[in-house]
Symmetry: D2
Subunit: 139 residues, 4 copies
């Protein structure tokens, strides 16, 4: 997939994100990645709150993460999100978190997100605008 | 109010709670206090999830906190919750977070919690079991 | 104090910030307020990470918060920070969190932040650039 | 690996852990798993804070997670941690989060944790007590 096909979202590391080891707590990279996915969805016209009100939720089905280097307090970061596969009810994202100043790769992940009924938890179809946006950007 | 009238809940500080200053992040004491309030409510027979399913939510109306000393990674703590005033739709809690090993007071707060409609956000009556439990323990 | 003397920082509510009641979890407003204070400090030339490396930390001494209305998923917010008093070793901030679309006040607080030695926890002088910046904007 | 070789740690879902979809936010399962790893380490005589003071940190190198079902507010859970492989400077954990009431598997993961220098970020040897404890329980 061409790198420039990825959606990018700038971030700043705040004290809330760090831990006593002086680095960003490992679970918090998942927050950064989720923000990038959310902003990509928003750029497709899909707002999570509206979907929840319609009885639809997006849940993570599975993920793998490889941590390369640690982000630290005050760092400026970029989180990216690219769709690399999709089905009727799911999207597979490839994501990266990079340090802005030098482009250093800190963390990369694949995250499979499923569209489910809010109450039932059962798979349901992706919103049409999201599906067609995903199909367009996927190589 | 007699100190022994307070409900106590034991806690452990994990790396998730700390920040790059090596201490517990200031907002996380509010998590500890909320756990103590939740466990007190559970001891009265009130489960938050059941209330939310019934269209009732508990929201914090106001609070003040005085931080005395910092908790650190691996510390064992106790969070307390005592009701010091109540109305038909709210409870006022006095809360403390102490270090277990020596009883040192780390943080104390007053937290006013209101019972509201989940959708409307408007005040509604406290669950009866919670109200009578609160009345019993209040001096 | 004139409202326009306050430093403003835009924010977005993500799913990470919300809770099962459908609103922003009450402790997370403290994260928003801390981000505004941090960005104000950065605008004065003070970076928290650099201070920690110099053995200085900023800790919250006390705070009070009044919650007016709840922020919800996808809301755009503004967090403000204004210094309303200061001593040699502390700053008192007045802070607000507002909904951007209509300027509705969601939450307001006073937060006293102390400058302390990272190891000792004892009060120490504010960085000079921060003190002079605070003096300038205080009415 | 025999299931009974896994270290188990009980947990409760609080409102802080949930999101507006009514379920535990996906990143927070990593907190639960880290608590189980921390308590296993403590049971081996290793405290993270002491290691950090000695200039040693434990960082996650990589992980994969498979989410099966969602935990909800007030659920009682058990997080497990078992060492399934180790090197001189790393441990590979297999972890599960289960619902206590019926043993339902909610989430499972493999998490590789590396021992590194706090400042350098370079690999360093595992504490001896941790290594020998890990060797004993590994099948």
């Amino acid at each position: 997939m061409a790198a420039d096909a990825a959606f990018s979202w700038p971030l700043r590391v705040y004290i809330e994100d760090t831990d006593a080891g002086g680095i960003v707590f490992y679970a918090n990279y998942l927050k950064y990645m989720e923000r990038a996915r959310t902003e990509w969805a928003r750029s497709c016209g899909v707002q999570v709150r509206g979907e929840i009100q319609n009885g639809i939720n997006f849940v993570v089905h599975s993920l793998n993460v490889r941590y390369h280097r640690s982000a630290r307090l005050d760092d400026e970061l970029v989180a990216t999100a690219a769709v690399i596969a999709l089905g009727r009810t799911w999207l597979l994202f490839q994501q990266r978190v990079e340090r802005s100043v030098d482009g250093e790769l800190l963390c990369e992940a694949e995250v499979k997100v499923a569209c489910v009924g809010l109450e039932s938890g059962r798979p349901c179809r992706l919103p049409a605008t999201m599906q067609s946006a995903a199909e367009k950007i996927m190589v």
